[in-house]
């Protein structure tokens, strides 16, 4: 198609990026899945448990973000037919919602 911009990346290095994302996700996931101390919080037990779940859910969102971004980057690195525009589109879900682009 005329007007298409060629995607210029080093696929091997892009795969390294993907690996970095997935490793970061694994590392943080390991901490979340590890031994979390149980607090005998008495009258505040319910709210302490809710706070713990809150920060763990937020941390899990970081894990999942790394997983999603890593997965997308790996897919891009392995597909030599993609154009620059198509790859930009792959990240648009992130950009549009939170960057207002």
């Amino acid at each position: 198609m005329s007007g298409e911009v060629e995607l210029v990346i080093d696929p091997d290095r892009a795969l390294e990026h993907a690996e970095d994302h997935l490793q970061a996700a694994d590392d943080l996931q390991g901490v979340l899945n590890g031994n979390v101390p149980v607090a005998e919080a008495g009258a505040a037990a319910t709210v302490v448990q809710a706070l713990l779940e809150r920060v763990m859910t937020e941390s899990q969102a970081i894990v999942d973000t790394h997983s999603v971004v890593g997965g997308i980057v790996a897919g891009i690195a392995r597909d030599a037919t993609l154009t620059d525009e198509q790859v930009s589109e792959a990240f648009s879900g992130f950009d549009e919602e939170l960057l207002g682009l």
Binding site: A14, H17, Q29, E40, T46, L52, V55, S59
Partner: protein, 375 residues
């Protein structure tokens, strides 16, 4: 017969609360910080081989991820500080209860373990002042005064703890905003659910499997604490009266509402089988928080008193070295006013501030330890 159990209701262990706080501010906070750093380092490395529009789009996402990581890292740190503070509250309260037990024993009250029995008139009647056994009765009245004083103080302190939990834990939870990472995944799930489903394996988050068990444990702990408190109230009306006075003075009906919110949030969590969808309850909690008009009294740091002097000492020490604090005149403490209160709250961790408020004895031990911690 009236009696008083000088244990924290539900017997919460401040050591285990501290352990959780330490796990948060060391292990989890560091892990989240590392994950945020990876976004940054990948961004730097991508610049020399991935240009054009798509490269910029990728790097925009990496900045989002890094910022979200920093947000969560701060949230974990703030939560840890709250739990450290709660552990300090429990430790100090139990210390006061222990002191009361010693005073009760020294004052002639019958103490069995942690339980203090109400004094009983040894005469079985009220003597006239010229009665030869009146001195015995007078000693009994002293014991009654001691018992009543202890009961009222215990009730006030239990009420204060309840207020503290509402003001500092429940209010903190209700005020937490969802991080950018949570909003991002929520948006992606809504708009492009297949993208999230493709790359996120929900079963990897095995910590979610334990949630129902942990929630049940928490419910059980709270129930036991509530039952223990109800028993104390039943055994000693003065304790209950003092607790109620503190409640009305500080919480009114707002405290009840906040607790209800926490219960609601916990109910939502229970209803969510997969935590990938647990994002929803966070948004629910945040939405509840927006209606926050709680009439509870905020904890204010009074500049000019012990706390104010300590504030400037701490800030001065942090800025100029410990020796410089000696030169700060007392008048300056008053003149600095609200600005000092702000600096105080910004510069001094909550746990240390509370220890300062609780008295110089705790401050000397823990405040100096904080000062000697590298900034």
């Amino acid at each position: 017969m009236s009696c008083l159990d000088l244990r924290i209701p539900g017997d919460p262990d401040h050591v285990s609360v501290t352990e959780l706080a330490v796990w948060l501010d060391s292990t989890l906070q560091a892990a989240v910080g590392d994950a945020a750093q990876i976004f940054d380092s990948v961004r730097d490395f991508s610049m020399d081989h991935w240009q054009s529009w798509s490269g910029e789009s990728y790097r925009n996402v990496l900045v989002l991820g890094r910022n979200a990581g920093w947000e969560v890292e701060q949230m974990v740190a703030d939560t840890a500080e709250k739990l450290h503070s709660y552990a300090g509250q429990l430790e100090r309260l139990q210390g006061h209860l222990d002191d009361h037990r010693d005073a009760a024993d020294a004052g002639g009250l019958t103490v069995t373990g942690t339980v203090v029995d109400a004094p009983v008139n040894p005469l079985g009647y009220v003597p006239d002042t010229d009665d030869p056994r009146y001195p015995d009765y007078s000693e009994h009245l002293d014991r009654v005064d001691l018992y009543n004083g202890i009961s009222t103080d215990v009730g006030t302190r239990l009420g204060d703890l309840e207020v503290w939990v509402t003001e500092h834990l429940e209010r903190f939870l209700a005020g937490l905003e969802p991080s950018a990472a949570v909003r991002l995944l929520e948006d992606l799930s809504a708009d492009e659910g297949d993208v999230v489903g493709l790359y996120v394996d929900a079963e990897e988050a095995r910590w979610r499997i334990r949630l129902p068990e942990l929630q049940a444990q928490a419910d059980d702990m709270r129930t036991r604490a509530d039952q223990a408190l109800a028993q104390i109230r039943a055994q000693n009306g003065q304790v209950g009266d003092a607790i109620d006075q503190v409640r009305v003075r500080h919480l009114g009906h707002g405290g009840v509402r906040l607790q209800t919110w926490v219960d609601d949030a916990a109910e939502v969590v229970r209803a969510v089988p997969v935590v990938g969808q647990g994002i929803g309850w966070i948004l629910t909690a945040a939405g509840l928080a927006q209606g926050d008009d709680v009439g509870a009294t905020a904890v204010e740091i009074v500049v000019g008193g012990v706390a104010g002097a300590a504030a400037l000492s701490l800030v001065g020490a942090a800025a100029f070295g410990v020796g410089a604090t000696i030169a700060i005149p007392a008048a300056a403490v008053v003149l600095v006013g609200g600005g000092a209160a702000w600096i105080y709250e910004e510069a001094v961790p909550q746990q240390v501030r509370e220890e300062i408020d609780s008295g110089w004895r705790d401050f000397v031990a823990d405040g100096w330890e904080w000062l000697n911690t590298p900034l």
